[in-house]
């Protein structure tokens, strides 16, 4: 097929057009890349509604559980150190802590009281991946007590890695320390933590010993009124400091209302029952509270030993964060 004289020569791609085409393609990619990286956290920012619903249902199931509360308690007792090591039998059929399940020394049982601080030093001494967790659930991998995990099933501890976990039981009953990698608990990586009855204060009075102690507290609120607290809104490091006194001490607390709302002070056993104020420790009441900027002192005699709560007695404020520990020893 030869070309005749009057036919125009074929039109061919020119460098100019190739550059234009590349500019369009690369331009789109640059704009897309900029959009992607400037919003990097946005693209994976929420889990689907079905997942949220499922998590809520799972949380409801744990509250109906008859076991102890699945939360961290408040430190008021002694400190217990527990070293643990993940190990597997050489044929990988039996797993365990410190020794494979079934052998002596495997999965030591821990006894503690409510409020004790149990410090686990956990090392992965096996050849497989593991993850440490403490749970009230009697089977399966979870749900874990908050802040008691080292690694997760998705991002586990590699062989040789180690870490520590601090666990303060919040109620009496049986907790379990387990490997959270699915299947490992069933192969033997499960130990019991038996927690005895706690030492919450009984609220009894004690005779004044004449020993005097003084503390200062201020009522604080975050600018959006979502977080309350003593000395700082809850969630910050210096919020709600623990106050430690001896039974019979005469305690004086200098109070100041630094917030934009009304508050009142009191020491109670149960923060959900703010009306039952102990030892005449109330300063002002919800009906006639401290106004913003107001300050004042309250003095009372600490009663029988135990853990008490100093709170804002205005209903709802304790739950929003105005709740600290008063530890009487």
């Amino acid at each position: 097929m030869s070309r005749t004289e009057h036919e125009a020569p074929p039109i061919r791609t020119s460098p100019n057009r190739v550059v234009k085409m590349l500019a369009i393609i690369i331009g789109i990619q640059v704009v897309g890349g900029a959009l992607f990286f400037t919003h990097y956290d946005f693209w994976n920012s929420y889990i689907p509604i079905a997942g949220v619903k499922q998590e809520k249902e799972m949380a409801n199931e744990t509250t109906t559980n008859t076991g102890p509360p699945n939360i961290q308690g408040i430190f008021s007792g002694k400190e217990i150190d527990v070293p643990l090591k993940f190990v597997e039998s050489s044929d990988f059929t039996k797993y365990g802590f410190n020794a494979p399940f079934g052998q002596s020394g495997a999965n030591p049982e821990i006894h503690a009281a409510v409020g004790d601080k149990i410090v686990f030093s956990v090392a992965n001494g096996g050849k497989s991946f593991h993850a440490f967790a403490i749970t009230t659930s009697t089977s399966g991998p979870g749900p874990a007590v908050p802040d008691t995990t080292i690694g997760t099933a998705d991002s586990p501890m590699k062989p040789g890695q180690s870490g520590t976990v601090t666990f303060i039981p919040a109620g009496d009953g049986t907790y379990y320390y387990i490997c959270a990698v699915p299947g490992h608990r069933e192969l033997g990586m499960e130990g019991k933590i038996e927690v005895g009855a706690g030492q919450a204060g009984t609220g009894g009075t004690a005779a004044a010993t004449g020993n005097k102690v003084e503390f200062s507290l201020s009522f604080e609120m975050s600018p959006d009124f979502a977080h309350y607290g003593f000395n700082a809104p809850i969630g910050q490091t210096n919020a709600n400091p623990d106050i430690k006194v001896k039974s019979g001490d005469t305690v004086t607390i200098h109070l100041k209302n630094n917030s934009k709302s009304f508050h009142a002070f009191g020491v109670v056993i149960d923060p959900e029952n703010p009306a039952a104020v102990l030892w005449s420790s109330a300063f002002k009441t919800p009906d006639s509270p401290m106004k913003p900027g107001e300050s004042g002192d309250v003095t009372f005699v600490a009663g029988t030993p135990g853990v008490y709560h100093y709170i804002c007695t205005v209903p709802g404020h304790a739950a929003l964060g105005m709740n600290g520990n008063l530890i009487v020893s």
Binding site: M1, I11, R12, M21, G32, F36, N44, A50
Partner: protein, 513 residues
């Protein structure tokens, strides 16, 4: 219309044209852009896995999941499908001797859905894996990425349904009255087969995407066990679409081989009839084997046997294609130009991938290989070894028609050697890695498993070789479309004989680029 053009047109005229060659050009360029983007992700994954325990390049598992999800989705839906549609757009109207596709505007709409779907998939960068199995995808996959992935695939699915309608109507209703259907060239037959398959298979996946979306919104519970749904139902719906989809990816590549092998053997095709028969057989058998993806979900023995036989039934039809190619080449005066090299390499790898597939379909072995790197190696050997080889060969074949210029034969040979070498090294090794027990989709593995480390490093070196071959390909496409020597538009490969596109041989079709 394009054919009467005497001078280059402005860019926007090409971009918003509805002519089949323009749309073909847009499809091809877009899909190749996505090929290189997806390839970068693949190299990141392989480089990361070469160094266990180091967390090199990809520092957290969630990002790793997102990368292989987008890699898979891109290669399948933004490269393989649009590339086949692009070449089909270019050749099918010419092969059936019609002036354009049956519905030119629909054709352009189908193309413009591809960049939209690509933008959704790449902006979200979801972590559901390309199969998006429930319950993870409905309960935990973080939004908006996963929702964007769902909509991206929805749009890609609609695009492929629209272009399938167009192909079916063009081939069946618009072909020249003098051309009987059985004489329609086999590449057009492959496009007809995959279009009909798409029309049957794709709506199922489209429906399951909607179910997945409503499940995520917690208004339905099709796949949500806590609402009485069944995650296995998603697998059935998904694989009912995506086992046929395997053939939808594969058959255009086979059709391209039917176009190129007789041409470069300078000999008529051995058997048109057996090619047509094998296409139609594969098109039907493709629907009888989806269950072999889910042997380990607790199917009963009879069901598994049925799916096993259904899968094995694809072997004779695939064999017919291979024997047809070999018989066509037998005794021909073969010219091993780049398109022919890639086609012959594609046949060899098609055979090895097919042999691995036959092993996979035997359910006792499948229980060992399921969810391991064996499966990764098998599917990539098919997709790279057969489909990408066919597509790259076709790209070299059609290059002079798009640009009016010739690529460099020397560099094409280098690319072929590297690509063949790399493909074998990566994907054969991954089969062995699977037998060693390495699970697919894992972010990291213990350094104590030295055999895994060694095999992974072999595979990663292979991946870099494969990557190098594609860098050469990209260089060819860019440099030689600007500076290549002018092609003889009547017979670019100097083969003699008759082309399917006689009227077009006078001028390159794609004037302008």
């Amino acid at each position: 219309m394009v054919l009467e053009l005497q001078k280059p047109r402005p860019v926007w005229q090409i971009m918003f044209s509805t002519h089949h060659t323009d749309v073909a050009y847009l499809y091809t360029v877009t899909s190749l852009a996505f090929l290189f983007m997806g390839g970068v992700l693949a190299l990141m994954i392989r480089t990361h896995l070469a160094m266990p325990g180091a967390g090199f390049l990809i520092s957290d598992p969630a990002t790793f999941n997102r990368i292989f999800t987008v890699h898979g989705t891109t290669m399948l839906f933004l490269f393989a499908l649009p590339f086949a549609a692009g070449i089909g757009n270019y050749l099918v109207p010419i092969m059936v001797r019609y002036k354009d596709m049956a519905y030119p505007k629909l054709n352009a709409v189908a193309f413009w859905m591809v960049p939209v779907s690509g933008a959704l998939i790449w902006l979200g960068f979801s972590d559901t894996t390309w199969v998006a199995y429930a319950p993870y995808s409905i309960l935990r996959a973080p939004g908006p990425a996963a929702d964007m992935w769902i909509f991206g695939l929805k749009i890609a699915g609609i695009s492929s349904i629209l272009s399938s309608i167009n192909f079916v109507v063009t081939i069946l209703k618009c072909k020249h009255p003098d051309l009987p259907l059985r004489k329609v060239p086999l590449f057009a037959w492959s496009m007809l087969t995959v279009s009909v398959m798409t029309l049957v298979a794709m709506p199922t996946f489209a429906a399951s995407l909607i179910m997945m979306l409503t499940d995520r919104l917690a208004v339905s519970g099709f796949f949500n066990p806590s609402m009485g749904g069944d995650p296995i139902a998603y697998l059935h719906l998904f694989w009912f679409t995506f086992h046929p989809e395997v053939y939808i990816f594969l058959l255009p590549a086979i059709g391209m081989m039917y176009e190129i092998i007789p041409r470069f053997s300078r000999k008529p095709l051995f058997s048109q009839g057996s090619g047509v028969f094998a296409f139609v057989m594969l098109g039907m058998i493709g629907f009888a084997s989806w269950g072999h993806h889910m042997y380990s979900t607790g199917m009963d023995f009879t069901t598994k046997t049925v799916f096993m036989i259904g899968t094995l039934a694809a072997v004779p039809a695939s064999g017919m294609h291979v024997f047809n190619f070999l018989a066509t080449m037998w005794g021909g005066r073969i010219r091993f130009d780049a398109p022919m090299k890639f086609m012959v390499g594609g046949i060899a790898l098609f055979f090895s991938a097919g042999a691995g597939g036959v092993l996979n379909t035997a359910m006792p072995l499948d229980f060992i290989t399921h969810g391991t790197y064996w499966v990764v190696g098998h599917m990539h050997l098919f997709l790279t070894g057969t489909i990408a080889f066919g597509f790259v060969g076709m790209m070299y074949y059609i290059f002079p028609l798009f640009t009016g210029r010739m690529y460099s034969e020397k560099w094409a040979s280098v690319q072929f050697i590297l690509m063949m070498w790399g493909t074998v090294q990566v994907f054969f090794t991954q089969h062995i890695l699977g037998l060693e027990g390495m699970a697919r989709r894992i972010y990291d593995y213990p350094t104590e498993f030295t055999s895994w480390t060694q095999l992974n490093q072999i595979a990663s070196v292979g991946a870099w070789i494969l990557g190098a071959s594609f860098v050469i390909f990209l260089g060819q496409l860019i440099y030689y479309s600007a500076k290549g020597k002018e092609a003889n538009m009547d017979d670019p490969f100097n083969l003699g004989g008759k082309y399917y596109y006689p009227y077009q041989a006078k001028t390159p079709h794609h004037t302008g680029y």
